[in-house]
């Protein structure tokens, strides 16, 4: 799966939790879930659970710790699907 395909799937996953539409329109690799999309921190776990379901991977606690941005999340997904 290419990086673009992963970002595209991730965009669909985060959409329901986004509270800053401007940030969502400009979503790119450097987008931060909390600072740019204003996603409530209580919804970060939903994104992680949705990522697990969508990509059929398991996110361990160490990986989860870093999942605050598109870039970090894409890197984790890539590592897990290639493992």
């Amino acid at each position: 799966m290419t990086k673009e395909e992963i970002i595209s799937k991730l965009t669909t996953i985060v959409k329901p939790y986004v509270q800053n539409e401007e940030g969502f329109k400009n979503l790119n690799e450097n987008t931060d879930f909390i600072n740019d999309l204003e996603i409530n921190s209580a919804n970060l776990v939903d994104i992680i659970l949705d990522v697990e379901d969508e990509f059929k991977i398991e996110i361990d606690n160490d990986s989860m710790e870093k999942m605050l941005s598109v870039k970090a999340t894409v890197e984790i997904i890539q590592t897990k699907i290639n493992a």
Binding site: N35, N40, S41, A42, N43, L44, V45, D46, I48, L49, E52, N61, M64, E65, K66, M67, L68
Partner: protein, 190 residues
């Protein structure tokens, strides 16, 4: 330096925004001990959000000091001491918490030290909480409310200045749904 962190959960919004019964929700964020306590509680929903606000307030207190961001709610373990008092332990750090819960919201303040120091705090509407804070801060420090300016640190924690003078030594603001809450302390010169 005495750091403060706070958090507020709008309970009506939490009902629709999150599903705590979703598979994996508790397992990823709460320790086994916390999960047992939640599930055996009379009102598991309220316990979930009480623990969550304690973890979040403690995390915000921690990040003010260490300036790094991460998502590891399970590593912040909550212990309830009394009806409104608790403790959160993260690695070598202990945070002391005070929470207010009612039918509308759950809000927690976390601090690093157990000793009572003066903390100004209030719960209000999300839309006016910054102004509420400025009015209170102006009254406490004797400066004009209009001249108070909010800035943010690199990790996003708020600081309040009057001209170039820093008024707050530590400050935390939280919004969720209809509600907002603030907690801050001020320099000893005031």
């Amino acid at each position: 330096m005495h750091n403060i962190g706070n958090d507020i959960v709008d309970l009506n919004l939490a009902k629709t925004q999150s599903n705590w019964q979703r598979k994996g929700f508790l397992e990823k964020q709460f320790t086994q001990k916390e999960q047992d306590e939640i599930l055996s509680s009379e009102n598991p929903f309220l316990k979930v959000w009480l623990f969550w606000s304690m973890k979040e307030a403690a995390y915000k207190c921690y990040t003010q000091k260490f300036k790094e961001r991460f998502f590891a709610p399970q590593k912040f373990e909550c212990t309830i001491i009394s009806k409104d008092k608790g403790m959160v332990v993260f690695e070598e750090n202990t945070f002391y918490t005070e929470s207010i819960s009612n039918a509308l919201y759950t809000s927690t303040i976390a601090r690093e030290k157990k000793e009572e120091t003066v903390i100004f705090f209030a719960v209000g509407l999300a839309s006016t909480i910054d102004l509420d804070l400025k009015i209170k801060l102006a009254a406490e420090t004797g400066v004009s409310c209009k001249g108070i300016e909010k800035r943010k640190t690199t990790i996003g924690a708020p600081l309040f200045y009057y001209k170039e003078e820093l008024l707050t030594t530590s400050c935390s603001i939280s919004h969720h749904g209809n509600y907002g809450a603030y907690a801050y302390n001020i320099g000893s010169k005031f």
